[in-house]
Symmetry: C2
Subunit: 231 residues, 2 copies
């Protein structure tokens, strides 16, 4: 037909963050870090820990120590990460998938929309949570163990689209923190923010979020805004 556009349709993929995006685990991580820091004699306000969470573990502990004016020490950093893991396990019994997570992931699979998970956490911590999400075996899961640098570096998200064999520009990042939105921009991907990690709409939009929803349940009702449709 004369005049019809020759632009090929470009279906979009979704790369999900885990903590605060698919599972309701941010506040437990925050209090576990606070407890670990206190055990190491470091007093830091909890809201500051919350604001830094979602960064790579290394950057995170460095940022926290900088706020306390302390010097870096590899032994202290390793000890903090161990103490956090112990404290988190104490609180992890209350961790649940966020509302709509299971339905959204199943719906995307059913639509044929490619999706992946990319988390700053290590497989050791993320493993038990991922099992509860019933992730199909073909879905790529990128953990901290698999890349050189975690968020706000783009490596995790770039590794995810590489596994999906798609260009970065054809995928959204879905995350709850400003670090997800910033890493998405560095990866050349659009960011979708969720409020379920406890950040405000304003913070996510300022970090570059294309759209902001409450949680996976609300995102599922608005998939048309993202141009997600049956392939």
């Amino acid at each position: 037909m004369t005049g019809a556009s020759t632009i090929a349709p470009r279906p979009m993929a979704l790369v999900f963050d885990l903590d605060g995006t698919l599972v309701d685990s941010v506040y437990q991580h925050v209090l576990a870090w606070h407890h670990a820091l206190l055990e190491s004699g470091i007093e830091l306000s909890i809201w500051r820990i919350h604001r830094k969470i979602g960064m790579s573990g290394g950057l995170f502990t460095r940022a926290l120590l900088r706020e306390t004016g302390r010097d870096l020490d590899e032994d202290v950093l390793r000890q903090l990460q161990e103490r956090h893991a112990v404290a988190y396990r104490q609180l992890a019994g209350d961790v649940r998938p966020l509302p709509g997570t299971l339905e959204l992931l199943a719906h995307l699979t059913e639509l044929g929309c490619p999706w992946a998970i990319a988390t700053s956490g290590r497989m050791e911590t993320a493993g038990p949570v991922l099992e509860r999400l019933k992730v199909p075996r073909h879905v790529p899961i990128i953990t901290r163990d698999l890349v050189r640098h975690a968020k706000p570096d783009p490596d995790l998200f770039l590794a995810a689209v590489e596994k999906l064999a798609l260009p970065a520009a054809d995928a959204y990042v879905v995350g709850d923190s400003v670090w997800d939105m910033l890493a998405a921009r560095r990866a050349g991907m659009l960011g979708v923010g969720l409020l379920s990690g406890g950040y405000g709409t304003d913070e996510l939009e300022r970090a570059g979020a294309y759209r902001v929803y409450d949680d996976p349940a609300m995102m599922m009702r608005h998939l048309d805004e993202l141009g997600i449709r049956r392939l």
Copy 2:
């Protein structure tokens, strides 16, 4: 002197919220509520609990139950409050005064600036925390037990200025939540927001905050912005 103003100087008083404003206890309260709700078979996202905290306990549990679409039941409400108190005690060992709290309160006392504390919590929960703040005996402490309605009703703040024998217009409310800012406006007082409860600047300003600081330490360095000076 001809032309000199006859406006009498009006020194300002400060009425402080407690949790998230003077002590770093918001996140423990949030997780304790989450645990209590799970024990009662009610699944609710943690960030939604965080957004409602600081309201009166009654309004809070009613708001939470409304979000879950449940009917109100006085037995469930009472059981929730009891379960929250038990879970909070488990986490309260890590609660610390926020940075600058002790210095700010001591400085205000030394300046002769009248101040008070007004909290939505009950004396049972607030008591141990107040001891750690070394509050002088003459400072009014208004708890939930002393008024009919808690925030966002203005009763707690109005009771505080009544004890200080000052007009409401001559006092700031200092708080971390939008409920503090809203109750301040209903009381005819100016609100000062602190980020230490984990809300964003934007949320506090939209709720009417006159100024927003990180925490008591930062507020102390900016007392001139509030016109607080030696009497």
